[in-house]
């Protein structure tokens, strides 16, 4: 069993309560940080750990923290991003449900490091049960003197609140999240200024993902250097992976970064292979926004190296033959799945979720949805395929926030790797309505896969 840093105790009965959580070493990092470390030392420790933002962007957390402006007489804020809406991603829900105090503990330490006196956890509105869980846990922590005035006699004060969203994917983008927290539509802001200078209520603000904040706890407990011993290269530590789609054992897994993708999919410790004895066709490795890869390219890089679950290995080959770790939303497609249909589905999602500020995204996502719809429903033309590529190129890079890119990449990559399937839809509209294209050459050559298949 691989060692875990966040979920070591997740199966302990009652771990969601303060009492049990503390019995298992909970809130040690608060004692250590507030009583024996300066805020600067906490930031340094996080820098040393090499922790990178777990929400999708992968930006070094310590560096993000050190950018926070500290003007005299102005409040500073820490806002936790629990908006979790990237299709394929459900790790934060899992963490908040089962071990809410881990997030609260991380919030206290991180707020201390940043000098925030009021912090917010922004949770998507649909997670009302999780909001209740967090509020209960916050009340427990406050009763125990871990929140509020003069925490553990350290002289440090912190109030922590949970804020519900309203069901808008875009609020996962940090400036949209800030707008939403201010009671406005979730329209991303033009940057600069960055939130580190002018964020919530025009004050310096750091926005971090739930998992990022939780990772601060083991970093402070064991030291940044210890944390950095996990993982490989610049991908340090562990990562929560949300595994979904046609897998035998979908769910949330904490992996050490560097785990081979093949092991993650096929080993019994993790996903246990493809469900129903089927074969793997494709994978979206980091949430719906990242490029989709056919089975052969997700298991091995173009140079024949085994693909690893790291920021670097997954993006090996650039967008031509690689993808991204993103938020860790790992979606597996079996041989029966239709790539055209899924691409249409994702396009509908981005069209639905575009905030509408930038024309390329507002209009382009709608066009892509329409064109993909007609391809899927047997009215497509051959020229539609290049039209899609063209539209996606004109969205990419031309919008205020990354939603435009996120909408463009899945379409561009699906056509890049599965063009024959799109063409087949055009040439065989009737047949395409009745059956799916199947595996074609995508699964070859996959010796390990055959092995697994023969065992079943």
């Amino acid at each position: 069993m691989a060692r875990k840093l966040l979920f070591e105790n997740i199966n302990v009965p009652g771990i969601h309560t303060l009492e049990v959580y503390r019995q298992h070493g909970g809130y040690r990092s608060v004692e250590k940080a507030l009583k024996t470390m300066t805020p600067e030392a906490v930031v340094e420790e996080v820098k040393t750990s090499g922790l990178r933002g777990r929400g999708g962007a992968g930006f070094p957390t310590g560096m993000k923290w050190s950018f926070l402006a500290k003007p005299e007489g102005k409040e500073r804020y820490l806002v936790c991003n629990g908006d979790e809406s990237e299709p394929g991603t459900f790790k934060d829900r899992y963490l908040m449900t089962h071990i809410p105090h881990l997030l609260i503990e991380g919030m206290i330490v991180a707020s201390y490091a940043l000098g925030a006196k009021t912090s917010y956890i922004y949770v998507r509105g649909e997670m009302m049960p999780q909001i209740r869980i967090l509020e209960r846990a916050i009340a427990e922590a406050k009763n125990a003197g871990l929140l509020g005035k003069n925490i553990l006699g350290s002289g440090y004060d912190l109030e922590l609140y949970v804020q519900p969203g309203g069901g808008a994917y875009i609020c996962g983008e940090e400036t949209a999240l800030i707008e939403s927290l201010e009671g406005k539509r979730g329209n991303p802001r033009i940057k600069p200024p960055f939130p580190a200078i002018s964020g919530l209520y025009a004050c310096p603000t750091v926005v971090n993902n739930v998992e990022t904040i939780a990772a601060v706890v083991p970093i402070i407990n064991d030291g940044g250097e210890e944390y950095a011993k996990f993982g490989v290269g610049r991908s340090t530590g562990t990562k929560l992976i949300s595994a979904s789609g046609n897998l035998k054992k979908p769910g949330v897994y904490e992996i050490e970064l560097g785990l081979p993708v093949e092991e993650f999919i096929y080993s019994e410790e993790y996903c246990g292979g493809i469900a129903n004895g089927k074969r793997l066709k494709a994978v979206v490795a980091g949430g719906s926004s990242v490029p989709i890869l056919p089975a052969n390219l997700i298991l091995n890089t173009i140079n024949g190296q085994p693909r690893l679950m790291t920021y670097e290995s997954l993006s090996d080959g650039g967008f031509q033959t690689g993808t991204m770790l993103g938020s860790g939303g790992f979606i597996a497609f079996d041989e029966d799945q239709c790539i055209v249909r899924n691409t249409w589905n994702f396009s509908r999602f981005y069209h639905h979720e575009s905030c509408g500020q930038c024309s390329p995204c507002r209009e382009g996502t709608g066009w892509m949805e329409k064109v993909l719809h007609r391809l899927e429903y047997g009215h497509g033309k051959m020229s539609d395929i290049d039209l899609l590529v063209d539209v996606s190129k004109k969205i990419e890079g031309n919008t205020i926030c990354p939603l435009g890119d996120a909408a463009a990449w899945p379409v561009a990559s699906a056509i890049r790797h599965f063009r024959d399937e799109f063409e087949w839809h055009v040439n065989n509209p009737k047949e395409a309505m009745e059956r799916n294209y199947g595996l074609a050459k995508y699964a070859d050559p996959l010796p390990k896969l055959e092995e697994v298949a023969s065992q079943n």
């Binding site: 409040e75 459900f90 009021t118 109030e159 309203g166 994917y169 949300s242 789609g245 769910g251 999602f349």
Partner: protein
């Protein structure tokens, strides 16, 4: 769309106002607009939807312009701008859920309830709609029911039947 039906005055209960007050206290002085989303959630939980009258009241309570409430209520998909069934079944329709049969579940719900997406059953008890990824893709297919957003996972046609049956028998 905002539905502009006849204007009915409403009055928030003192209990509701107390909850609003507590929410407003979470933000710095003068930043009470931050309470807008949580307040709208409470309003919807109370009335089943957010009517234009309720929005005007919220604006007055938060001392902001009504338009500031309208623009927010119309932006966020969780807020219902017209009356719904007592139970709104919200089924995830996004990619990962569709890989394991969400579309079949939606068709089944449509057939069972006998109403199209967004419509209310004649007895006023149910409506349903497809929603985007609910961050539960590993337990797909899934649906949720407000106002507490209770979650139902790994749906099958049978489990949906049971759920609807149970809700029908609830008063």
């Amino acid at each position: 769309m905002l539905s502009v039906t006849e204007h009915k005055e409403i009055e928030f209960s003192s209990d509701l106002i107390k909850q609003f007050d507590e929410i407003v206290s979470r933000y710095p002085q003068g930043k009470q607009k931050s309470a807008l989303l949580p307040v709208l959630h409470l309003v919807q939980a109370e009335y089943g939807w957010v009517s234009p009258e309720a929005m005007d009241k919220v604006a007055a309570y938060l001392q902001i312009n009504p338009i500031e409430v309208y623009e927010v209520a119309t932006f966020y998909t969780m807020f219902f701008l017209r009356p719904q069934g007592k139970y709104v079944l919200e089924v995830c329709r996004t990619g990962p859920c569709c890989l394991v049969g969400a579309e079949k579940i939606m068709n089944h719900i449509e057939k069972t309830l006998g109403v199209k997406e967004g419509e209310v059953t004649p007895d006023g008890k149910f409506s349903w709609r497809g929603v985007e990824c609910l961050a539960a893709c590993g337990m797909a297919p899934v649906l949720q029911i407000g106002p507490e957003y209770t979650f139902y996972e790994n749906l099958t046609e049978e489990s949906v039947d049971k759920l609807i049956e149970n809700l029908k028998n609830k008063i």
